[in-house]
């Protein structure tokens, strides 16, 4: 069975660290980075990239629209 892999790209400077995406992620991929961005917010990043399925849940609840989602069907 082909496996579906996903990945997110976070617009770090526009992320406000509200953590709503962490709650929305069904596979617990996202965490807040220990570093902060230019505005002083901890920003979202893929802590468990292997688990990402590219479901777009994080991106559609993100109030600031900073998450871009990619998804690819991988060959075995």
């Amino acid at each position: 069975m082909a496996k579906i892999k996903g990945a997110i790209v976070v617009d770090i400077e526009h992320c406000k660290g509200c953590e709503v995406c962490i709650d929305a992620c069904p596979t617990q991929v996202i965490e807040m980075h220990e570093q902060v961005n230019g505005k002083g917010y901890h920003y979202a990043y893929m802590a468990q990239p292997d688990a990402c399925t590219g479901c777009t849940n994080c991106a559609i609840v993100c109030p600031d629209g900073v998450i871009t989602v990619y998804r690819k069907k991988m060959a075995e």
Binding site: K16, D23, P49, A59, C62, P63, T68
Partner: protein, 263 residues
């Protein structure tokens, strides 16, 4: 996961979700976790999907979303406090072929603009009203709004809203659903992915109603959080909203195609 594999996935042909181009790249002026940003993006998503951005005119209110014209990359007009439905009426009557929507908060729509809202809906203007209800005056510092829940604390009701002295919260959506000019009335939320998808469907239906010139106002209420005003973290405020706001402001369709939805 290796860097190579990540680079293999992050390619333009694998793109599944990206912020719509109809949102500008300005940083939103809203607090972290505020539902306004999601609501803005949903409206722009719908406008993009229906490919009506050239013919859409939005009316921004006064309140937190007063700068909506900075974020929505379409034609916008800013109205005086509470007067967005009146301004939208004028725009729609001058340009009947344009798609006109107002975007208002509860301080704008349910307090100072109650008369404009009720009369615009009663006249059955063919416009869309998007009503963001967070039960508080967010921009001015979390004062009590007409929609503040009984017992809810705000900076002007520090011991909780006392309904004997301050009256009862106003359910604007139920109130206006009784008017014959209301063609579609619904209440949605944007705190979880499922609710975001539902809210988007409702907004799409509202825009389609106007494009197809079905008579009357399409009124979409979005129950939102105000974590700064409520003094909570964004995630906690969403939980509080589910536990306290939704029992009083139940989600769902109230009127579709001019007919009441039986529950």
């Amino acid at each position: 996961m290796s860097k190579d594999l990540l680079n293999e996935i992050i390619q333009p042909e694998n793109l599944v979700y990206k912020k719509t181009k109809l949102m500008t790249n300005n940083t939103l002026s809203y607090c972290p976790g505020c539902g306004h940003g999601t609501a803005h993006r949903l409206i722009m998503d719908v406008v993009e999907e229906l490919d009506i951005w050239k013919d859409t005119i939005g009316v921004a209110p006064v309140g937190c979303s007063v700068l909506a014209y900075d974020f929505m990359n379409i034609d916008m007009q800013q109205a005086a406090h509470g007067r967005a439905p009146a301004v939208a009426t004028g725009i729609k009557r001058c340009y009947p072929d344009k798609v006109v929507f107002t975007y208002q908060g509860d301080g704008d729509l349910a307090a100072i603009g109650t008369a404009e809202t009720i009369h615009a809906i009663n006249r059955g203007e063919n416009i869309i009203i998007v009503f963001i209800n967070n039960g508080i005056y967010g921009m001015t510092g979390g004062q009590m709004a007409p929609t503040t829940l009984p017992g809810m604390k705000s900076s002007t009701s520090p011991y909780g809203r006392d309904t004997e002295m301050m009256g009862n919260p106003l359910k604007m959506t139920e109130l206006i659903s009784a008017l014959p000019g209301a063609y579609m009335v619904t209440r949605q939320a944007v705190h979880t992915p499922a609710h975001v998808r539902k809210a988007k469907r409702a907004l799409k239906m509202a825009f389609k109603n106007q494009i197809e010139k079905k008579g009357g106002v399409s009124f979409v209420e979005i129950v939102s959080n105000c974590n700064s005003g409520w003094k909570m973290t964004p995630v906690h405020s969403n939980q509080w909203m589910v536990e306290n706001m939704f029992p009083f402001y139940p989600l769902g369709d109230i009127k579709i195609d001019g007919e009441f939805v039986n529950k």
